[in-house]
C-alpha cells in the first residue's frame, strides 16, 4: 500500500449550477505536508470540501488510501481517520470547551484521551473548560479546533485557513503545532491564502488559480510563480 493517502483525480465540483473546480488533480503523499495556495476565490476551500466528503464532485474521483470514496458521507470518512478543520474556526461556538472536546470523541477516541492531549498541549484550554467556545479569543478557538486534530490522531489532516483573522504570533504558534503533527507521520493538506505563513512547514506546495491547480512543486521552486498567481501575471 504505497498509494497516496489522499488523491483527487480530475475533480469538477461547485455549488448549484456554478462550477468552481474545473478538473483538479492533487496528491497528498504519506507523511507529508501539502500546502494548497492561491488567491481568494480560487477554489481552495471547495477542494477541501470535496476531499472531506462535504461536497460530492460532479466529475472525477476522490481516493483515500487508494480507495474510491465516491458518495461516502463525511462522518464516515471522519470515523475512518480523516480529520478536517474547516475555515473560520472548526468549533461549535455555543458549546463549552469541554463539550467541544466531547464532540471530538464521536470519531472513536475516548474523552479522557482527548482531554489529556488537548489540555496537555494547550494549558489555556484547561483553564477554560466550562467557558462557551464562542467567547474564547480567536487564537484559543483555533487551538481548540487543532486540539481535535491532535487528539484524534488522524491519518490525514485537512486544515483550512488556520491563520484567518489571527495575529501573526499566534499563527506562528499554531503552525508550529502543525509541524509537530506532521513530524509524527500524519499527512496534512493545508489551505492558506497567505503563502508566507505556511511555506516553511510544507513539503509540497500547489498553487491554485481559478479552479485549477496551476503548478505543484517544492516550496522553493514554486516561489517564483507565487507572485504571478496572486497578481494575475
Amino acid at each position: 500500500m504505497n498509494a497516496p493517502l489522499l488523491e483527487l483525480r480530475s475533480i469538477c465540483a461547485g455549488y448549484g449550477t456554478i462550477e468552481v473546480l474545473h478538473g483538479v488533480d492533487l496528491v497528498v503523499p504519506p507523511s507529508s505536508v501539502v500546502a494548497l495556495l492561491g488567491p481568494n476565490g480560487a477554489g481552495k476551500t471547495t477542494t477541501l470540501s470535496v476531499a472531506c466528503g462535504l461536497i460530492q464532485p460532479t466529475a472525477g474521483t476522490v481516493l483515500v488510501a487508494g480507495r474510491n470514496v465516491a458518495g461516502v458521507a463525511p462522518e464516515v470518512l471522519a470515523r475512518r481517520g480523516l480529520v478536517t478543520i474547516p475555515e473560520g474556526r472548526g468549533i461549535f461556538p455555543n458549546l463549552t470547551v469541554r463539550e467541544n472536546l466531547q464532540m471530538a470523541t464521536l470519531a472513536g477516541t475516548r474523552l479522557a484521551a482527548v482531554e489529556e492531549v488537548a489540555y496537555g498541549r494547550f494549558p489555556r484550554l484547561a483553564e477554560r473548560q466550562t467557558q462557551v467556545a464562542g467567547t474564547l479569543s480567536g487564537g484559543e478557538q483555533q487551538m481548540l479546533a487543532l486540539a481535535r486534530g491532535l487528539a484524534v490522531d488522524p491519518a490525514v489532516l485537512l486544515l483550512d485557513e488556520l491563520s484567518m483573522g489571527l495575529a501573526p504570533l499566534i499563527v506562528e504558534e499554531l503552525y508550529g503545532i502543525v509541524a509537530t503533527i506532521a513530524r509524527s507521520g500524519t499527512s496534512i493538506l493545508v489551505v492558506e491564502q497567505f503563502a508566507r505563513t505556511v511555506l516553511g512547514v510544507a513539503d509540497i506546495a500547489a498553487i491554485m488559480v481559478n479552479g485549477v491547480i496551476r503548478s505543484v512543486g517544492e516550496p522553493a521552486s514554486i516561489e517564483s510563480e507565487l507572485s504571478s498567481a496572486y497578481l494575475g501575471g
Partner: protein, 276 residues
C-alpha cells in the same frame, strides 16, 4: 488631505456580535470621484463594515453619514434610496433571472422610488436621463459590464466572475452615489480584471464615490486614490497607496510577521509593490 466634504463618512464605527467585537472604532471617508480601497487579511472585518454601512448589520457605536445625513436610523432599503449601492462577497445574484433581467430589476426598483429624489450623477457614457428607455439603459449597462453576449442567459448558469459583473451592473442600474464593492475582481481573469479597473476609473471620473474591498492588491494599487488597512476590526493604517505600502505595520499584519518565515517576504513584498 481632502478639503471637500466626503460623500460617505464612517465615523468611529463599531460592530459587536455577542461578546465579539468584529469592528472597532473604524473611520473611513469616501469622496465623490475617488476610489477608496479597504484592504486587510481575511476576517479583518471588511465585509462586516460594508454590512454596517448599508444597514444589513446593526452597528453598536459610531455614525455613518451620506452627504452629511446620518443613516444610523434608516433601514437597508432607505439607505439604498439615499444612494448607497453595493455588491456582495458571497454572490447574491438573482440566479433564476437572466443577466438583462437582473440589471432590469435594479433599474425598475430605482424607478419605483427615484422620482422623489434628484437623479444621481451620470456615470455611464451616453446615459442621459431623458432620452433613455429602460431597455436602452439595460442594454447599455449589460454591454458596459461586458456581458452583451450572455444577456439572455440565466445568471445561475454563469461563472462566478460573470456573476460578479452582474452584481456590479445591477448596482449601477440603481444609480448610487457611493458604491461599495466587495471583492469584485475575484473570479475574473487578467483581462477582465483590467477591464474592471478601467470601468471603475470611469465611474469615479464621472463623480461616483467608490469603496473597494479587494484581494487583488495590484488592482487596488492601480485604481485607488486612498487606502485604508483593516486588521482585527481596526484601521491600522490609511493614506495614499504609496504611504501605506511603506508602512511596516501593514506589511506585518497583512503578510504575517513570523521572523522564521521572513525568507519568503520579498515575494510578497513584490506583490504589494508590483504597481506602486
Amino acid at each position: 488631505m481632502n478639503d471637500v466634504a466626503p460623500v460617505l463618512a464612517v465615523e468611529g464605527l463599531s460592530v459587536r456580535f455577542g461578546g465579539h467585537l468584529a469592528v472597532s472604532d473604524v473611520s473611513i471617508q469616501v469622496h465623490a470621484g475617488r476610489i477608496t480601497g479597504l484592504i486587510g487579511p481575511n476576517g479583518a472585518g471588511k465585509t462586516t463594515t460594508f454590512n454596517a454601512i448599508c444597514g444589513v448589520t446593526p452597528l453598536s457605536a459610531g455614525r455613518v453619514r451620506l452627504s452629511g445625513e446620518d443613516l444610523g436610523r434608516l433601514s437597508t432599503h432607505q439607505r439604498a434610496r439615499r444612494g448607497v449601492g453595493r455588491t456582495f462577497q458571497r454572490l447574491e445574484v438573482f440566479s433564476s433571472l437572466t443577466v438583462a433581467d437582473n440589471v432590469r430589476v435594479g433599474l425598475e426598483i430605482r424607478r419605483s422610488w427615484s422620482r422623489r429624489r434628484p437623479p444621481a450623477p451620470q456615470f455611464l457614457a451616453g446615459a442621459t436621463d431623458s432620452s433613455l428607455t429602460a431597455d436602452d439603459e439595460v442594454d447599455l449597462i449589460v454591454t458596459r459590464i461586458g456581458l452583451a453576449d450572455s444577456a439572455d442567459v440565466p445568471v445561475g448558469a454563469l461563472s462566478t466572475g460573470s456573476a460578479r459583473k452582474v452584481e456590479l451592473g445591477r448596482a449601477l442600474a440603481a444609480r448610487p452615489r457611493v458604491l461599495l464593492l466587495d471583492e469584485p475582481a475575484s473570479g475574473l481573469d487578467d483581462r477582465e480584471t483590467g477591464d474592471l479597473g478601467v470601468l471603475l476609473g470611469e465611474l469615479a471620473a464621472a463623480g461616483l464615490g467608490v469603496l473597494l474591498v479587494e484581494h487583488d492588491v495590484a488592482l487596488v494599487m492601480r485604481v485607488c486614490a486612498d487606502l485604508s488597512v483593516l486588521n482585527f476590526g481596526q484601521v491600522i493604517a490609511s493614506g495614499t497607496p504609496t504611504e501605506v505600502q511603506s508602512n511596516r505595520a501593514v506589511l506585518d499584519a497583512y503578510l504575517g510577521g513570523d521572523e522564521a518565515l521572513r525568507s519568503t517576504a520579498p515575494i510578497v513584498e513584490s506583490e504589494l509593490g508590483a504597481s506602486g
